[in-house]
């Protein structure tokens, strides 16, 4: 696990998925979310006072977070969780390294 991205919650969902919440060292920006577009279908709910975004990669993983906040919640399909978690963590870490 990353030294800068902290896993703060883990839950086994009733539908078999694993939900993890991570605390990032920086607030999530729209640029970061845009950079995740190759990873899945990105949707930002700008109509909310605190815009929520989702990034859906088929059934493999599903990211939810709020623009400007440090917490992201990710629902993983268990079979591919290891690879997908590694990918997402490395993505968020890249922003730390770029700072």
């Amino acid at each position: 696990m990353s030294e800068t991205i902290k896993e703060v919650k883990l839950k086994q969902c009733s539908d078999g998925r694993i939900k993890k919440e991570y605390l990032l060292p920086y607030p999530i920006t729209r640029d970061m979310i845009s950079n995740l577009k190759p990873a899945g279908e990105v949707f930002i709910m700008d109509y909310l006072a605190d815009p929520v975004f989702t990034i859906v990669h088929g059934t493999d993983f599903n990211v939810r977070g709020m623009v400007g906040k440090k917490i992201v919640a990710i629902w993983y399909t268990t079979e591919k969780m290891s690879d997908n978690e590694r990918f997402i963590i490395s993505f968020f870490e890249s922003f730390v390294n770029n700072e």
């Binding site: 009733s14 709910m45 109509y47 909310l48 939810r64 709020m66 906040k69 917490i71």
Partner: protein, 389 residues
């Protein structure tokens, strides 16, 4: 007694999973239990210790109008109770037989039954519900000459509907063993277990009886209908290598969960002090406040608009339940439970297996918080609708 004492910005509406907060007297009783010398009934030379297990057994039995406290068995919760009853009934019943249950059930019933079905011990009929209810007629119609066991939830953890257990019991012959799962009803509505006509009634302590997690139980009318599936020390009859046949030792092996048992007793005292008239009025106020706030929204899907117990299953059109739950939690501090609620069959019927948002208040919930939750969901639904135009 003040029913509303949450000093926190979060709004906890997930009591159907586990109740929060716990009454102060429950927390104090658990702490005292852990500080005091253990009341090890039959397992200590300390003659001064009390027997909190027996006291709790008597208080719990009285609360549910059960005449003989020893027929009230303590377990770790509803799941253990149901497994002991289902597998214990199977161990006692020779040959292949037929079991009836419903599509409202929790996995703590469906999974043990599915295992028995896969192992060719039973054939299983699942009676479908309509708007959250099964009818006594449909249950009776499913009975055949091999039927030996019927298991039905008393209150649905998804729909908030209370099932007609007494009506179902009325036309059953004595060969059929009837189990009701009271996980969602115990502490929410007055229950006289013997008058329901059931052969066994299952309880959990950590929901609306306001005990701690890890305590529950079941009441059984005739213990000889069920084989004990756990054996071990009871503190009595120790020279006997067989599990004692008398109650409660027949079904209770190992050191009791003293803090849990004390928490259950104290939670029941708390509910008794409030009284069901006040509890009922309070929960009705919560239900009315929530549904009044969403009744005019055609964007909020209401799966059970008139529940008997306060469990509110809803969805927002064009927004999946997990995202809606995330927004409610992160933007509004409203804690719900999303998904299938461990009851996959009823979700297959009402949400096509997609799951929903479930909100469930308790006597600690301010009805104004239910109104706020309803207004927030309506508002979110309207925003989603406008965004998708």
């Amino acid at each position: 007694m003040n029913l509303i004492n949450i000093n926190d910005d979060d709004i906890y509406l997930n009591n159907a999973a586990t109740s929060w907060p716990k009454p102060d007297i429950v927390i104090k009783a658990i702490t005292k239990c852990l500080i005091d010398l253990p009341g090890e009934s039959g397992r200590s030379t300390d003659e001064l210790t009390e027997d909190p297990v027996q006291e709790s057994r008597e208080i719990t039995s009285k609360f549910f109008s059960c005449p003989d406290p020893d027929h009230l068995i303590f377990t770790s919760g509803a799941t253990q109770s149901l497994n002991m009853l289902i597998h214990g009934f199977d161990a006692k019943t020779p040959g292949h037989y037929h079991v009836i249950t419903t599509d409202l059930e929790h996995n703590s019933i469906l999974r043990p039954l599915t295992m028995l079905e896969n192992n060719k011990h039973i054939s299983l009929s699942i009676v479908p519900s309509h708007d959250g209810y099964v009818t006594a007629d449909e249950v009776h119609d499913a009975i055949n000459t091999d039927t030996r066991l019927i298991i039905i939830t008393h209150g649905s953890n998804v729909m908030g509907t209370v099932q007609p257990i007494h009506e179902i019991h009325k036309e059953l012959n004595e060969d059929i063993f009837l189990i009701a799962d009271g996980s969602q009803t115990a502490g929410q509505i007055p229950i006289n277990i013997p008058s329901l006509g059931v052969d066994a009634y299952v309880l959990t302590g950590h929901k609306y009886l306001f005990g701690m997690p890890g305590i529950g139980g079941f009441w059984i009318r005739d213990p000889d209908r069920i084989n004990p599936i756990m054996q071990g020390g009871t503190g009595t009859d120790s020279a006997n290598l067989h599990q004692p046949s008398f109650l409660p030792e027949r079904f209770e092996a190992g050191t009791p969960n003293y803090p849990g048992i004390v928490s259950l007793m104290t939670g029941i005292k708390y509910i008794t002090d409030i009284g069901f008239d006040r509890i009922s009025a309070h929960l009705k106020a919560c239900t009315t406040a929530f549904y009044n706030a969403i009744k005019n929204s055609d964007q909020v899907i209401k799966y059970s608009p008139s529940p008997d117990i306060p469990v509110f299953p809803v969805n927002i059109k064009y927004l999946d339940a997990d995202t809606a739950g995330f927004i409610l939690r992160r933007s509004n501090g409203i804690i719900t439970r999303t998904g299938l609620h461990c009851a996959p069959l009823i979700h297959k019927q009402i949400t096509n297996g997609e799951g929903c948002i479930r909100l469930s208040p308790s006597v600690f919930t301010n009805p104004e918080d239910c109104r706020y939750a309803g207004e927030t969901i309506s508002d979110l639904a309207e925003k989603v609708k406008n965004a998708t135009k």
